[in-house]
Subunit: 306 residues, 2 copies
Amino acid sequence: MAVKAEVNQLKDGDKKGLVDSVETFIFDCDGVIWKGDSLIEGVPETIAMLREMGKRLIFVTNNSTKSRAGYLKKFLGLGLEITAEEVFSSSFAAAAYLESVNFPKDKKVYVVGEVGILEELDGVGIQYLGGEADGDKKVTLSPGQLMEHDPDVAAVVVGFDRNVNYYKIQYATLCIRENPGCQFIATNTDAVTHLTDAQEWAGNGSMVGAIKGSTKREPTVVGKPAPFMLDYIANKFDIRKDQICMVGDRLDTDILFGKDGGLRTLLVLSGVTDEATLKSPENEIHPDYYTSKLADLLTIKASVNA
Amino acid sequence: MAVKAEVNQLKDGDKKGLVDSVETFIFDCDGVIWKGDSLIEGVPETIAMLREMGKRLIFVTNNSTKSRAGYLKKFLGLGLEITAEEVFSSSFAAAAYLESVNFPKDKKVYVVGEVGILEELDGVGIQYLGGEADGDKKVTLSPGQLMEHDPDVAAVVVGFDRNVNYYKIQYATLCIRENPGCQFIATNTDAVTHLTDAQEWAGNGSMVGAIKGSTKREPTVVGKPAPFMLDYIANKFDIRKDQICMVGDRLDTDILFGKDGGLRTLLVLSGVTDEATLKSPENEIHPDYYTSKLADLLTIKASVNA
């Protein structure tokens, strides 16, 4: 029998206590900061208020199609003043993970994924193959033919890829099967992604599933809800995890990521999760608090100024 | 602790007893009858001998890229005289499965797969979309765009597909997510396939993995080692399962399929499994007998004629 869920709606009286108890906010982007290409109401004001209160702000996203630089452009284009150091995408996490394990500079990465991963690998000076360059390749066969592959590929990174094809799947699985010690790294395993707001689109769970389905290997996941990004951030900024509040719209990535990491957690209902799903007996992931949108925190300002 | 494996090599003295004890042989094709485009030594003579002894012969393959008619051409091209009724491919099994559940004639199937599945669906008069027709489609996006999908799609069939792409993955997952009751059928979940003999190629496990990774649904598998084809064959020919001998080269599909179904089992080492793998303590799938190749049975003829 499931225990009845304790789910606390964030009340005005809780807000200052929550904000005062942490020094850092980690925000998921899609469904918290923006939906597709539109800012969510009240976000710039809330972010400005938290900055004035001296909070460190960090923006994380499982989307690997853009690099940190690509995301920075999106933030600035929406009128949000942030810096590249405040953005952590799963494309960056893949490159940071390879650096953290001292990936040899004479080895290469095979990429199933889009430009964000390639830009981040360039940023840390790691050689790569695949990605966009293999988007139009086909496998045409004659008897006895084999696909040559580079024996220097020592890691396969799999991120969301609109141009996934059999050539890339075979190249990636060949490297994992035949190159001794070749790593298999997934930016995330999200079932769906929001290419547009109009419907759910198959996410990187599909690309990772294609590689798992042939290699029978489990990937090292660097995006949410795996702990790599959180450990990296806590270490880089020397922050205690209990002084971080994770704000997100997804229970099984954002809130799980926060709870597994020992963070405070705040679910916002401005993205994919509705109140019924949160309170359903099937849901076992319970944030510390939930509220309709990030801007609900703004009433702190009113009470401080009053 | 694993129990030490009992693995019996087929000796001359066992052969006649094994053959006499069954009325039907089910042969896997690749690695038993042929390798790629070459017949394995002694196969025509062995098949002729078994026919002379009055045995029923059935040829099964998990490969869905050809239809029964397509396989018949391959058999005849290699000089093996068989009939279409003796061939069971996983493409046929997908169509037979849909017939067995009375798939409505006003509903449609979305196909991730090659021509074999399309031909078999034509054969049973089931409407379909996808397959080869969607092989070159791309997803190009503008804000707010959605991919339209046919609400009459009531099943997605996933088979090996050299032209798998994001369009097909999204279409298939949309149907499974959004069309109530839509079935998800896999011809097989083989990790690798032998497009050519030169190397292992990612198999339908990749295509099925891509759909599972987004839908989080498990497919109904109609090929080996799932029981559907065996039940269909036993029912169609009214054969007792203990009077069937399954001959195959793969432990985790052919021999498992036979053992799960209560058949006699004979592993041949002319395909992907070697003696070391068979006898390894990690292997828990033990055939009744193993032998180097199908033609080893020919010594029965010598002893009968002697």
